[in-house]
């Protein structure tokens, strides 16, 4: 049970948030209902999450792998199962998901050099974001354009946030989406 109230029936000031969430996710995920006691954050955090969980400058399929690696690297597991299912539904093989574990990605034949560069960024951000050097940024710039790198950094750090926030509050979302995503 979450640390704070779960708002099943939205008050007038969050009805639109629940409607937008239901449209995007096919239902109202529990994280939205837990944010429901604070309308401002219910709106803004839901909007940011919706923005990232869709096709963008980077494919949604790869963003799901980045999210899984971020959760693993930071030791938080909010929505891990849901993101694993999304990763599969969006076309990732079980090998690609399995090779996210520990350092297997470094020598995995299932990832491109550009993808491996992103996992290196994830691990360094998790360990010490002050120390992301040329050894990490040079391969990133070789594989991605500037808009994509901004999006990838936003995805990583947003899920540092969401993982910690919802693990702290005891939120469980075994299925983020109740509709097909492809």
């Amino acid at each position: 049970m979450p640390a704070t109230a779960v708002i099943e029936t939205p008050t007038a000031d969050i009805e639109a948030v629940y409607r937008d969430a239901a449209e995007h996710f096919g239902h109202v995920p529990n994280f939205v209902k837990v944010l429901g006691t604070n309308p401002a954050f219910c709106r803004s955090i839901t909007d940011l999450t919706i923005r990232l969980l869709q096709e963008g400058r980077v494919s949604w399929a790869f963003k799901e792998l980045v999210i899984l690696k971020t959760l693993r690297a930071t030791g938080v597991y909010y929505g891990y199962g849901a993101h694993e299912r999304l990763a599969v539904e969006l076309g990732n093989s079980a090998d690609r998901i399995g090779d996210l574990h520990n350092a297997l990605w470094e020598d995995s034949p299932h990832f491109s050099p550009a993808e491996r560069a992103v996992f290196a960024l994830v691990e360094q951000i998790a360990e010490d974001a002050n120390d992301v050097g040329d050894d990490i940024w040079d391969p990133l710039h070789a594989g991605w354009d500037e808009g994509q790198l901004l999006e990838l950094t936003a995805v990583i750090t947003t899920f540092v946030n969401l993982g910690r926030m919802f693990d702290t509050l005891g939120v469980s979302d075994p299925a983020l989406f109740a509709r097909p995503v492809v």
Partner: protein, 211 residues
């Protein structure tokens, strides 16, 4: 050096320009961390809205959120965030003495802190280190002083500042010149623990007119 270009206001698309205008209205300038998000305007707008919500009175006072921001970003050795929020906290009435006591667990025995503030700073420490480690007695103390909507705001503030500190540091976002000369409080009380952050801190002190 920043790892992506800063998109200046005169180069920004209309969506980004609106974010910049909102930021300037609130913070008196367009900070470099806003300018770097101009590389993906569709992300800049929803991302910064979370921070616009934090940096004002909400279900808890802005000044309480500044304590959480200082605590969480200091624990992440984020020179960019700590420097700016020492100034913001000061403007909101948090004395340098009170700010300095936020390091480690000094605040617990500090006369500057109320039991309510101690409770959310204890929660903050656990969230930053490991959410799994939050003890029941910390939750009990937090719930003595804060209702559900306030607790959501406390945890959202901590999470958001973990996010933005790592975001800015990873992208190499530089402190704007306006902060050079600021007398550090938290890092003076406790130097950065990360060797990379120590180098950033020494570089910052070398740029300060008072150095």
């Amino acid at each position: 050096m920043p790892r992506l270009p800063y998109i200046e206001p005169d180069e920004a698309d209309p969506v980004t320009k609106q974010v910049y205008d909102d930021a300037e209205a609130r913070f008196e300038m367009v900070l470099n961390i806003f300018k770097i998000t101009g590389n993906a305007p569709e992300i800049a707008q929803p991302m910064w809205q979370v921070y616009f919500d934090i940096l004002q009175d909400g279900q808890i006072p802005w000044v309480d959120k500044e304590l959480l921001i200082l605590k969480s970003t200091k624990m992440g050795d984020c020179l960019y965030c700590v420097t700016q929020h020492e100034v913001v906290a000061g403007r909101l009435g948090v004395s340098p003495e009170k700010q300095a006591d936020i390091v480690g667990v000094e605040y617990r025995a500090s006369s500057h802190y109320t039991p309510a503030e101690v409770a959310i700073l204890d929660l903050c420490g656990h969230v930053v280190v490991d959410p799994e480690s939050v003890p029941a007695e910390v939750w009990r103390r937090v719930r003595e002083h804060y209702d559900d909507g306030q607790i959501v705001e406390v945890v959202a503030t901590i999470g958001a500042y973990l996010q933005v500190s790592k975001f800015g540091d990873a992208l190499g976002v530089q402190l704007e010149e306006v902060w050079h000369g600021h007398e550090p409080v938290l890092f003076a009380a406790e130097p950065p623990t990360s060797s990379a952050s120590r180098q950033h801190f020494e570089h910052f002190l070398a740029q300060s007119p008072s150095a």
